[in-house]
Amino acid sequence: MTDREIVIHTSELTKQFDKFVAVDHISFDVYKGEIFGFLGANGAGKTTAMRMLTALSTPTSGQGTVAGYDIKRQPEQIKRNIGYMSQKFSLYEDLKVWENMRLFGGIYGMSESKIKTETENILHRLNIYDERNTVVGELPLGWKQKLSFSISIFHRPKIVFLDEPTGGVDPVTRRQFWELIYKAVEEDITVFVTTHYMDEAEYCDRVSIMVDGKIKALDTPANLRSEFNCENMDEVFQKLARSAKRKGD
């Protein structure tokens, strides 16, 4: 375990807004090829932590590296080496499926030929080749989310950050989405994911649970279940999150 390559490292990472400590000295490592579940109640500090890891926000104190780059000094390199997808951020609704891929490929500086082959790959893999000229806004939500994920790893990033990627998606598509995550992991992409579905917490290799800006637990789902003497991850989450003093979001 210790000789595994570390792709995310944080040490005492902290973000403070005036007197409010949103993220309070968090330290953890994420290993290459891992599915890392980042859980916490609304307002626990997940989004703030994720904004620091994706180099969108600068920490008040503490250190961190993502994909080997320092989050304070090398934000632009980090952005080039990660993928990001959220439930809210979707694709450009008034562009066609292939146009979205062309656009994001271009933004990430991929070559014309690479964009072409990857576009073909995704269209076949998602079984949407016949929809390549469809405007994204007209696709069903489940397809949009799968497409959005595929585009977030279009440039083969080292790490992909998924912020509640399956919110509101139907049960069958939700499961197909996780199969796409497993495929990405087989291709050595590390997955950092937040979710409010506790059954999905079980699909992660390791899970951290944030309470009031601190990481209160971090282990494999099986170890967390036995440590807290719970049947499932929902019970583990309820036990930890109920101790929260912050009443937020």
């Binding site: 916490g40 109640a41 609304n42 307002g43 439930q87 069903p140 939500l141 489940g142 509640e164 919110g167 509101g168 998606v169 139907d170 049960p171 069958v172 598509t173 499961r175 996780w178 199969e179 497993y182 409010h196 506790m198 059954d199 917490a201 079980e202 699909y203 789902p221 099986a222 279940r225 499932n232 991850m233 929902d234 989450f237 309820q238 999150a241 109920r242 929260a244 009443k247 937020g248 979001d249």
Partner: protein, 322 residues
């Protein structure tokens, strides 16, 4: 003693009035080519929590907007407490509360101003029905001078619910009140709903979370604008006629692929730490477990289980779109 009298009075009035809070019959609505809802019908009884359960894009919000008299259906009819949603829309608006999925209060008015405004719209004061919202409103009262736009998500939700209740509606429409809300806050919100139900308010609530189904008295499962089934949660589960099994091994990622290669498997879906599987024929347990050993699995756990609402939803949605 007064309690007993109250109960007697309530029973007398119930016997003289209809017990139906809401009836809809063949409601359809299209946006251009897109059929948002297709001939939906159901009846909700007074004082029940009726859940409309399905994913985003299934038609839940369109249905809610028609029932709250904000848009017109193309076809079909509906009545709320005997009032027609088209002819009697003005009276209906006096008797219903609506909390849309998107936060729709005035962002630049304070918490207190919003609540006062909504009370005034219905010719009430905050004090008139304060007892109904007291439990909810007290949690945000310390921030009553703050602008609504500056509240956190959880507090916005509590303010929106307070505003939807301040005129003491008979029927409350909640469109995805718990979407994007963490599991602890979701449980708290449902505790509030169960208390409101005790006040005799009929609650029509939509949600994409299948685990909330069991908290409803009756549910309608919706996908692609059509109801897959309408029943009590227990009734829906009782209709799942196949034998369902839970299986787990030491290598869950590999298990997913191996299950798909086993010719007698009908369906396999991940459910937290297990997979739920059904077989095409009667299960040959020995043969199946042998197969898993051959594929290199160990610590094999295999057990017959009873389905939950999510199992049923997936079975029903498979039937309409194989």
């Amino acid at each position: 003693m007064t309690d007993i009298l109250n109960v007697v009075c309530m029973e007398m009035s119930n016997s003289t009035k209809s017990n139906i809070a809401l009836t809809i019959d063949g409601l359809s609505k299209s946006y251009g080519e897109v059929k948002a809802i297709r001939s939906l019908s159901f009846t909700a009884e007074k004082g029940e929590i009726f859940g409309i359960i399905g994913p985003d894009g299934a038609g839940k919000t369109t249905l809610f907007r028609i029932l709250t008299t904000l848009i017109l259906a193309d076809k079909g009819s509906a009545t709320i407490e005997g009032m027609d949603i088209v002819k009697d829309y003005k009276q209906i608006r006096q008797h219903i509360g609506y909390m849309p999925g998107k936060f729709s209060l005035y962002q630049d008015m304070t918490v207190e101003e919003n609540l006062k405004f909504f009370a005034t719209l219905f010719g009430n004061t905050i004090e008139d029905n304060y007892d109904l919202i007291k439990d909810i409103y007290q949690q945000i009262e310390p921030f009553k001078k703050r602008r609504a736009g500056k509240l956190s998500g959880g507090m916005k939700q509590k303010l929106a619910l307070s505003c939807a209740l301040i005129h003491r509606p008979n029927v409350l429409f909640l469109d995805e009140p718990t979407t994007g809300v963490d599991p602890v806050s979701r449980k708290e919100f449902w505790d509030i709903l169960l208390r409101l139900k005790k006040e005799g308010i009929t609650i029509i609530v939509s949600t994409p979370y299948m685990d909330e189904a069991s908290l409803c008295d009756r549910i309608a499962l919706i996908q692609d604008g059509s109801f897959l089934d309408i029943d009590t949660p227990k009734g829906i589960i009782a209709k799942f006629k196949q034998e369902l099994f839970s299986v787990r091994t030491d290598n869950m990622h590999k298990l997913l692929k191996d299950l798909k290669c086993y010719e007698d498997i009908s369906t396999s879906y991940s459910f937290g730490k297990d997979y739920h599987v059904t077989f095409i024929n009667n299960v040959d347990e020995k043969r199946f477990i042998n197969y898993l050993y051959q594929r290199g699995h160990s610590d094999i756990y295999f057990k017959k289980i009873s389905p939950n609402v999510e199992d049923c939803f997936m079975l029903l949605s498979r039937k309409i779109q194989p």
